[in-house]
């Protein structure tokens, strides 16, 4: 059974989502939870924060804490190669088409980027289902929102295609019956595949909208721009029925209250990482920071 909770860190570029994700992961690992920190951000700041060379292969940076960097291009390549191989196996007139050209262009198609992230997400979800937390450092806002919207959007298409395919099969069966032709017992492969797709997107949608399984952390700063973008993220997620789990208010000037924050965010539990005078680079520095501020962070989490 999948028991891992998925924590997503979103926000405008530069607000500190990678550092927040790194701090949160280190904090949870220190508490004894088994955590995998996954960087879905093409900028891959985690390797700079932890001062380690990271890749698709997990690297253990501290007890109970592993880090993975997703190479989305390699996921796209593998996916297209799989489709190509499947076509080679099933098509009988392969040489009639110039599919090679088509495939060389297709890898740059819009939409494949977020699907590569979805494939990586599904893979990790299965692989680490018995861990406690999967923490995702998300890519820039536009791509993150496309990632969350992909299952709902795909379901609209899949449901329409499914209805159309069923109508075709029903009518084909009617013709076979009236013309007294031999009944085909093999199930329509296209219908099978569409049903498979529907199941896949339905499961993803249910996971994303599950209030405990998917915990979206929105990181924002006191400045107007990050505030405005965070509001857009909040409303886009709401449209997708994805609840905001926690707001992380970063870079708040000392002795300043949260009174100027939008009431929308004030409604969600809020966390504020105290200001650090030294840069939070390297696992030792992260651990030292958490040790120094453990009481305050823990108090905030308890009141959340």
């Amino acid at each position: 059974m999948d028991r891992a909770n998925h924590l997503f860190f979103l926000g405008k570029g530069g607000v500190g989502k990678s550092t927040s994700a790194a701090l949160f992961s280190t904090f949870l690992a220190q508490k004894g939870f088994r955590v995998v920190l996954v960087s879905l951000d093409p900028a891959h700041n985690q390797s700079d924060i932890f001062e380690r060379t990271l890749s698709d292969e997990p690297v253990e940076v501290a007890p109970h804490l592993r880090i993975i960097e997703i190479d989305e291009e390699s996921w796209i390549r593998t996916y297209l190669k799989d489709v190509r191989q499947q076509i080679n196996r099933t098509y009988s007139y392969l040489t009639a088409f110039n599919l090679d050209k088509y495939f060389s262009v297709i890898k740059h198609s819009p939409g494949l980027e977020e699907y590569a992230l979805i494939l990586a997400y599904e893979h990790l979800q299965k692989k680490y289902s018995d861990w406690d937390y999967l923490v995702f450092d998300m890519p820039p806002t536009a791509l993150s929102l496309k990632f969350f919207a992909l299952p709902s959007l795909s379901l609209v298409w899949v449901n329409h295609l499914l209805a159309l395919r069923r109508e075709i099969i029903e009518k084909r069966e009617l013709i076979t019956k009236i013309k007294l032709l031999k009944q085909e017992f093999e199930r329509d492969k296209v219908l099978n595949k569409i049903e498979e797709q529907r199941k896949q997107y339905q499961t993803l949608k249910e996971t994303f909208t599950h209030p405990e399984k998917t915990q979206v952390h929105l990181v924002l700063n006191p400045d107007k721009l990050s505030h405005a973008e965070s509001l857009r993220i909040f409303h886009s997620l709401k449209e997708l029925d994805i609840r905001l789990y926690r707001t992380i208010y970063n870079k708040r000037p000392l002795n300043e209250s949260c009174a100027d924050i939008d009431p929308v965010f004030a409604e969600t539990p809020m966390l504020h990482f105290p200001f650090s005078e030294t840069p939070l680079i390297g696992i030792r520095q992260l651990q030292r920071y958490l040790q120094a501020n453990e009481k305050e962070v823990q108090n905030q989490l308890n009141t959340c």
């Binding site: 009988s92 013309k179 296209v190 595949k193």
Partner: protein
């Protein structure tokens, strides 16, 4: 004499069989055309990007592509005949 009657009966049976077949074919002709058109729509919907039409999210088309060789061939044929719409219409209506 028996042979003569048997031959007549056989002919009548064959005639009835043929009439039945023709009647059944006529009955489903409209449905067959409808299915053909539905299959065309399905092909265009899923593989439209191959011939420059708007299409569903790329991964949906790609996942279905290995099972849609027939539709892909059909699409290519449609592209071929697209430049001769009148001749296609004449051939459908059996004119000329």
């Amino acid at each position: 004499m028996n042979g003569f009657f048997r031959r007549i009966i056989e002919k009548v049976v064959a005639f009835l069989k043929l009439s039945d077949e023709v009647a059944r074919s006529n009955a489903v002709e409209t449905i067959e055309t409808e299915v053909e058109e539905l299959e065309n729509i399905f092909g265009v919907l899923v593989l439209g990007s191959y011939v420059g039409m708007p299409s569903p999210p790329m991964q949906i088309s790609l996942d279905l592509m290995p099972f849609m060789e027939k539709e892909l061939i059909l699409m290519m044929e449609k592209v071929d005949t697209a430049s001769q719409p009148l001749s296609q219409l004449f051939s459908v209506l059996d004119i000329g």
